[in-house]
Amino acid sequence: MKILRLLPLAAILAFGCGESGPTTSIRIDGSSTVYPISAAAAEDFGLVNPGVSVAVSYSGTGGGFKKFENGETDINNASRPIKQIEIDRAAEHGIEFIELPVAFDGLSVIVNPKNDFIDYLTTEELKAIWEPGSTVGSWSQVRSGWPDEGIELYGAGTDSGTFDYFTEAIMGESGACRPDYTASEDDNLTITGVAGDTNALGFLGFAYYVTSKDLVKVVPIEGEGRDEPVAPSSETIMTGTYFPLSRPLFIYVDADAAERPEVDSFVRFYIENAPVLVPESGYIQLPASAYDLVLKRFENRVTGSVFGGGGATVGVSIEDILAREAAE
C-alpha cells in the first residue's frame, strides 16, 4: 500500500512545481487570422513586462465575440468589423469596446500549380462557383474553353472571419455559400488539399499563401467594374487595387479592461510595435500615420464601431479608414 500513500504526495509535488507566476493577466481570443499578430505582441510585451501574463487563444472572430460580449475576454481579435447583433449583446452585458484597426490582409484564391489554363477569375465567375445552390461542377461551366474536368472546392469553415469576408465580398451576403466544399478552420489544410488535387480551387488568408508559394498557384482576381485582373501582393493590398478581396484586421478592446494599467500598456505596446510585428506575421501594415491615429483613438477611449455594425465590409482601403478616423 506504500504506493497508494505516495499518490497524494505526487499530486502535491506536481502542484508545487509551478513557479511564482505573474500577478496580472490579459485574456485575448477571437480570429485565427489575427492570432499570430497578437501572439507576437504578447511575446514581445512579456519580455519587457515579465509580471503580466498574456494568454492568447483563437476560436474564430464570431466565437471570440461571444466570449467578449460576456466579459470573458479583455481583447477580441477580429478579421471583420463587429456586427450589430454583437454590439447589442455586448451592450446588454454593459460592455463597451474600442475598435482598433491593426493591419491589412488579402484573401487569396488558389489552384493547383499543374492547372495551366486558369489565368484569372472575375468576381462574377467566383460567385457562380460558390453561391448557394450553385450547380457548377466542372471548369467548362465556369468559362467556355476550359476543360470538362470536375472542380474540387476548398475553403475556410463557417466560424472563421475569412469565410464571412469571402462570402460578403463575392456573394454580397455574409454566410451565403454552397455547402458542398471541404471546409476547414485551419488554412494549412486548404493548402494541403489544393496542393494535392489537380482540379482544386480554394480560398484562404494571404499569409498562408505567401509561405506556400511553391505548393499552390494564386489566381489574379478581376473585381466588378475593374478592367484588369490583379494578383494579391503587399502593394496591391495596401493601395486597395486588389479588390474586393482585401480586408482590414482589428482588435476590439473592452473599454473597462482598458482602464487596467496592464491592458492599457499592452495595447499601446501593440500599436507602437505593429509596424514590425504585422509584416513579421505575414500581413500588411498600415502606414505610420494611420497607427498614430489608431493610438490617438485608443488614448481618447473612443468607443463604438465606425462601420455601423455592418459586419464584413468590402473594399475598405487604408484611405477609407484614415478618412473615418480623421472625421472623428
Partner: protein
C-alpha cells in the same frame, strides 16, 4: 463409396493452398499496422529530432522558431495531470469498490453499470462542452487550469472505474472469505485484502487513463486552454496551455519551420506517454511478483 485418390489429393492440395494464403494474408495485416506505426514515428523523428534540446524544453513559445519552447505546455500538462489524478483516482476507485463490493445485483446497479460503460465511449468533445457549461460558465472557474483538469477528470473517470472494477473482480473470492473467517470487517477486508491484491490492475488503469488525458486536445480547446501563453500556472485558477494544444498551434502555423517544431513537440509527448506506459507495466510486474512471492 470409393473416392478417387487423385480427387482427394487435389482437395488436400487446395485446402493447403488456402491455408497458406490465409496465413500470409493475416501476417500482412499484422505487419501493415506495425509498418505504418514505424513509418509515422520515423517521419516524426526525422522532422523533429534536430529541434530537440534543453532550450526547447525550458523556453516559452515564440514566433521565432529557434527561441520557441515547450515550457508553458509541459508545466500546463503537469498541472492538468495532477488535478486529474487528485479528483479522478479517489472517485473512480471508490465507485469501483462500491459497485463490486457493496452494490447488489438489481435494477439500480444494472442502470449504473450500463451508464458507466456507455460514458466510456462518449466522444471527448462532448466532455468539453459539458466542462464549458458546468465548470467554466456555471461554476465561474473561467478558463482556469482547474476547469481543464476537472473536465479531463470527468473524461477518464469511466475508464478508471471500469478497469478498477475488473481488477477488483479478479481478486479470488477465497481471499475475502478467508479474511471474514478471521473476523475482519468488510472495511478491513476491502482495505487490507482486496485493494492490495487489485492494486496492480487499478494502477495500470489509472496510468493508462492519465496518458489518454495527456493526449486530449478537443475538450481543452473548448474549455479555453490558451494557444499562446508565456507563463506557467501558479495556482489552480491561472490560465494554461497543454502539450497537444501547443503542438496543434505549431502545426497550424503557415511557416514550414513550425511544423518541424510540432514534430519535435510530438516526440516529447510520445516519450512522456511511453514512460507513463512503461511505469504502468513496471508497477504491474512488481506487484504481481510480490503477490506471488
Amino acid at each position: 463409396m470409393q473416392v478417387d485418390p487423385r480427387v482427394s489429393a487435389r482437395i488436400a492440395r487446395r485446402s493447403q493452398a488456402i491455408d497458406g494464403l490465409f496465413r500470409t494474408f493475416c501476417a500482412v495485416c499484422t505487419w501493415t499496422g506495425i509498418a505504418i506505426l514505424f513509418l509515422l514515428i520515423g517521419k516524426i523523428v526525422y522532422e523533429g529530432f534536430s529541434g530537440l534540446d534543453m532550450g526547447f524544453l525550458t523556453s516559452f513559445p515564440s514566433r521565432h522558431v529557434e527561441r520557441a519552447g515547450l515550457k508553458a505546455a509541459i508545466m500546463g500538462s503537469v498541472w492538468l495531470m495532477g488535478i486529474v489524478a487528485l479528483f479522478a483516482v479517489p472517485v473512480g476507485v471508490c465507485a469501483a469498490i462500491y459497485l463490486e463490493e457493496y452494490g447488489k445485483a438489481g435494477r439500480v446497479s444494472n442502470f449504473l453499470e450500463t451508464n458507466i460503460s456507455n460514458l466510456a465511449g462518449v466522444p471527448s468533445i462532448v466532455y468539453g462542452i459539458l466542462g464549458l457549461a458546468i465548470f467554466v460558465r456555471t461554476m465561474h472557474m473561467g478558463n482556469s487550469v482547474l476547469a481543464g483538469g476537472l473536465t479531463l477528470a470527468l473524461l477518464v473517470l469511466p475508464v478508471i472505474i471500469v478497469s478498477a472494477r475488473e481488477a477488483i473482480r479478479a481478486v479470488p473470492p477465497g481471499h475475502r472469505t478467508a479474511s471474514y473467517a478471521l473476523g475482519a470487517s468488510k472495511w478491513q477486508t476491502t482495505w487490507k485484502v482486496v485493494l492490495p491484491s487489485a492494486l496492480p490492475g487499478v494502477l495500470t488503469g489509472v496510468i493508462l487513463s492519465l496518458s489518454r488525458a495527456m493526449g486530449e486536445t478537443a475538450p481543452l480547446i473548448l474549455v479555453g486552454a490558451a494557444s499562446y501563453i508565456a507563463s506557467t500556472p501558479a495556482s489552480p485558477m491561472d490560465r494554461y496551455t497543454a502539450l497537444p494544444i501547443q503542438i496543434y498551434d505549431w502545426a497550424s502555423r503557415p511557416q514550414a519551420d513550425f511544423r518541424d517544431l510540432a514534430a519535435s513537440g510530438i516526440i516529447v509527448l510520445l516519450v512522456v506517454l511511453f514512460l507513463m506506459n512503461a511505469v504502468a507495466i513496471f508497477l504491474r510486474q512488481r506487484f504481481l511478483s510480490r503477490l506471488k512471492g
